[in-house]
Structure formats: C-alpha cells, structure tokens
Symmetry: C2
Subunit: 123 residues, 2 copies
DNA sequence: TGACGCGTGTGACATGTGTAACATATATGC
DNA sequence: GCATATATGTTACACATGTCACACGCGTCA
C-alpha cells in the first residue's frame, strides 16, 4: 500500500469524514479548497483506486468511493515513514504530543497510537 | 526553496555532518546506503543545485558541494509542511517531543524550535 | 424525439523524481 | 608522450504526479 500524496490525502480526509461519496460530491468539497477542476478530481480519484487507496462501488447507479484503510492506519503509516526518514526515529513515537490536532478523534488517536507503538502489528 | 525529496534529504544529511564534499566522497557515503550508482548520485546532486538546495564551489580543482540552508532551517520547513498537511496543525509544534532523535543536536533543536515556534521569522 | 445535463472512459501534456549510460576533458604515472 | 583513471558535461528513459479536455452514452424534459 503506497503512501498517499498530498493531493490524495486531501481526498482521503474528506472520505474519512463521510463515505461513500460520488466524484461530484467529492469535487464539491475538495474542488474549491485545492482549486481543482472536476477532471482533476476524477483523475486523482481514479489513480487512487489503482493504488488501492480507495475502493469503488455503485450506489443508485452512480459510482461512489470509500477509503480502503482507516484514518488511523493510513496516518500511522504516513507518520512512521516521516519520522523514520526525516528524524530517523524508528522506535516509539510520542503521539501524545499531537493530540490537539483536530484531524483525529480521541478514539482514532488510541488506534493510531496502538498501531505505531503498541503490539507489533504493522501489516 | 522547494522541499527536499527523500533522496535529497539523504544527501543533505551527509553534507550537514561534513561539508563541503565532492561527488565522489558523497557517493562513498550515500551509495551503499541508498544503493545508488555514481551516476545517480551525481544527477541528484546536480538537481539539488538547480533547486538551490546545494551550492557548489571548487576545492583543489574539484567541484564540491555544501548545503545552502542549515539543518534546523530545512528540517523546520519540512516539519511544518508535514504537520500542516497531515495533521493540520498550523500553530506551535511540540518539538520537545522529538528531542531524542539523533539527527539534531541540542543546539540545533533550539534553533529549529525557534524557527518553528519562536518569533515569526519564516523567510 | 431531439437537445441538454451528467456520469464516465480515455487521452494528453508538463514537471518531478529515480536511475543510469555515454562521451569528453583533464590530470597523473610510467 | 601515452595510457589510464578520475571528473565533468550531456542525454535518456521510465514512472509518478498535477492538471485538464474531449468524446460518448444515457436519462429526462419540453
């Protein structure tokens, strides 16, 4: 499972908050923020499916998208990668330091913390 | 000043520890670790100069490379970018949480902390 | 029934990055 | 002076990513 790029992360965040959503619905949320045309959103969505970051299904005859992984699992991977390459910290990470980030709830932090530092299950 | 990629960061770390170094010397250090050929190292070096991540000069008739920015300044930018896009933390960052990383000395941490959280000088 | 809107398939092009070879110049030892 | 090594200039190619347009099919509404 390859790491999401910055653009992909923007889409993932939307879908973690609410999924599944159609391309049009995603565009309405991400388009203004990222300043993307609908085409750009669709291309990114398509590539994310290729990379297995998203899965698609059909709802009322329309293609809708959902994340493959939980927010905590994806972000734990992103964070682990970052700290390993930038700060060369491979051991436990001080996740508590970021609890005031708004992107994760307390429960999600618990999951993330477990993934990063807890019992060695990093599949 | 664009952010360094993972490969570029590997070279920067070597040059922060000791600079200036020639392409050959850098290759000796980074080649085995990154599994690069000498060509690859040279290309990366050249692109880093284009991006103003490195500056070149001549020493004993040989081209040598040095970082343009201090470790603290570069890493503070990388960290700020990461926390802003991934965790959406734009305010102060808890740098103290990473002080056990080996990549920065205590003094460098102080500088980094000042850059990230101190008086608003983020040029 | 034909125009229009929307969803979707597909193609395209620029730039960045990883990775490397080929060729040429220059120095060094014999 | 010549061969060999090392340094440097140049070119190449594939894949990732950002960004978007064009065309086609299908349903709806006048």
């Amino acid at each position: 499972m390859s790491q999401p790029s910055k653009s992909e992360l923007a889409i993932l965040k939307i879908l973690w908050a609410e999924a599944p959503l159609s391309a049009r619905e995603i565009q309405e949320k991400v388009g203004p923020k990222m300043d993307w045309s609908f085409s750009t959103t669709r291309t990114t969505l398509s590539r994310m499916c290729d990379k297995a970051l998203l899965k698609q299904s059909s709802k009322h005859g329309v293609r809708v998208f959902s994340p493959c992984e939980s927010k905590a699992r994806t972000l734990s991977g992103v964070m682990r990668e970052f700290f390993a390459t930038v700060l060369e910290i491979d051991g436990p990470l001080p996740t508590a330091a970021f609890h005031d980030s708004k992107v994760l709830t307390e429960e999600e932090w618990l999951e993330l913390d477990d993934l990063l530092n807890g019992s060695d299950n990093d599949d």
